[in-house]
Amino acid sequence: MSLWQKILKYLSIYRAFFKASFVADLEYRLNFVVLVIGEFIWYSTQLILFEVLYRHTKIIGEWDLHQMRVFIFLILFIDSIYMILWDPNFSAFTDNVRKGSLDLLLMKPINSMFMLSSQRISVSHIPCFFITFGGLLWALNQLPDFNWFKLLWLIFLIPAGLSVIFCGRFALNSTSIIFTRADFLQYVWYSLFRLGLRPDAIYSGALRIILIFIVPFAMVASIPARILLEPTTYWMILWALVLPFILFSLLRRYWKFCLKYYSSASS
């Protein structure tokens, strides 16, 4: 099978997944509406936090309120993409391991990582995607002399940020194969993700270097926001281009390593 045929095959499977998720999510309408409201509350809390803080200070890290709004809307936008594409699958991961339904997913004649990460799509996050994108454009519009051509850099930077979230969450979930029950790893993920919810400028010294190069949560939104808000730093763009390849290569190895420890829990 050629590469093109493979891509077409996976796209058609993904379309089927999307249709099934769309129907499943909209089946319970009240649940769907409440989920959408819940997501808006969550996103609002992130905005409110900084709006309240800036009532009492002019600069946090290196950014003023207008720059911080760009950062916040950017991270919420990237987060909404992640939530739509992958979050429901990762949330069900440890249950799949514990209850043995992982067997069924591993035996499908398609890539196991694709199967485990893309089976469900979160339709309730689609409104957040549009709202946060609108918010990002609004925040950029508030900046004096913003060069709109800089937005083109996001074509490279957003996938790089998403690769950090995807690989980090997938790797953490894979660990549950080794320990059988590791539900609380999800909460570790949420705590780690909070590192990315803050601008990298609040971290200093070695921690900042770690966040850019070793546990690269700064790539999720801090580096993209810097590219938009500050003079272009080319090493950051180069790092954004290289990073996804490194992460996926490491993730693939780690996934294979974890699978060696898998003992089926189903009967």
Binding site: Y28, N31, T57, V188, R198, I202
Partner: protein, 273 residues
């Protein structure tokens, strides 16, 4: 009467033990829950507040309080926030009602409410005992303004608040009698509590009108009130006000849960073996 009370006590102690044992069963899971997650949460919040205070004006104060006061807030807020919220047991309660496995509890001489309340308390006690070492260690390390002698009173308030949170979880689970899918209500409720409780932003930093509204609601008694009391931002009056707010919250939630439960159980058809 005395025998009945002894049976009630024994039964609930056994359930609390069940909550403890269940959570200690998978030790790796427990270590993450009790130590690693609190350390990460506290560490990130501390860094944020240190960064904010690097750029503050010459007075060195924000909203009338200094750096150490906010660091104390950042250290204790995630800890109290985790005690004062219910994700795991509420999801289990919802699942019991929606899936119909509640049948096994309905046919036993104990109530669904107490079955999960005692387990929740057992779980909260064991995680609190271990994870409390994190904020205490941070407080001692940074020499933060914490009134350690006030901790017992603050914890009594938090335990009282858990009763309110559990009643709200009970309300959410009773919705399972009427709706097929109610998990979203857990998300909505918990996010609202995080926002209204002052876990994310100290309530006294918010605009005055908003902060007075939040302080008159029972939800601030889960995080902000005990935290303000421990760190000296508030005094005994604030603590008493917290007890009062939880009490009326419990009355409202109790009445609502009573009606939802009774009507739900009447209409409920138990299926399955």
């Amino acid at each position: 009467m005395k025998t009945q009370f002894t049976a009630f006590l024994k039964r609930n102690l056994a359930l609390a033990r069940l909550g403890i044992v269940t959570n200690l069963e998978y030790r790796f899971n427990f270590i993450i829950d009790a130590f690693i997650q609190p350390i990460l949460s506290v560490g990130i919040e501390v860094l944020l507040w240190i960064a904010i205070f690097k750029t503050v004006d010459a007075t060195g104060l924000i909203g009338g309080f200094g750096r150490d006061s906010y660091l104390a807030y950042a250290v204790w807020a995630p800890f109290l926030g985790r005690i004062a919220i219910s994700w795991m047991y509420e999801s289990m309660m919802v699942e019991e009602v929606v899936s119909g496995s509640i049948n096994t509890i309905l046919t036993r001489p104990l109530s669904f409410f107490e079955y999960y309340l005692s387990q929740t308390l057992g779980y909260k006690v064991i995680t609190t005992v271990f994870s409390m070492t994190v904020p205490i260690a941070f407080s001692l390390f940074f020499d933060l303004p914490v009134h350690y002698e006030r901790l017992p009173a603050a914890f009594i308030l938090v335990v009282y608040y858990i009763l309110l949170v559990h009643t709200m979880s009970f309300i959410v689970s009773t919705l399972g009698f009427y709706l097929t899918r109610v998990r979203s209500f857990t998300l909505l409720k918990n996010l609202s509590l995080m926002l209204l409780g002052g876990e994310l932003v100290p309530i006294d930093l918010m605009p005055e009108n908003l902060s007075s509204i939040l302080l008159s609601l029972p939800f601030s008694s889960g995080v902000y009130v005990p935290l303000a009391f421990i760190t000296g931002r508030g005094d005994w009056d604030l603590l008493y006000r917290g007890f009062f707010n939880i009490s009326w919250g419990l009355v409202v939630a109790g009445i609502l849960s009573y009606f939802l439960w009774n009507r739900g159980v009447r209409e409920y058809t138990g299926t399955g073996a």
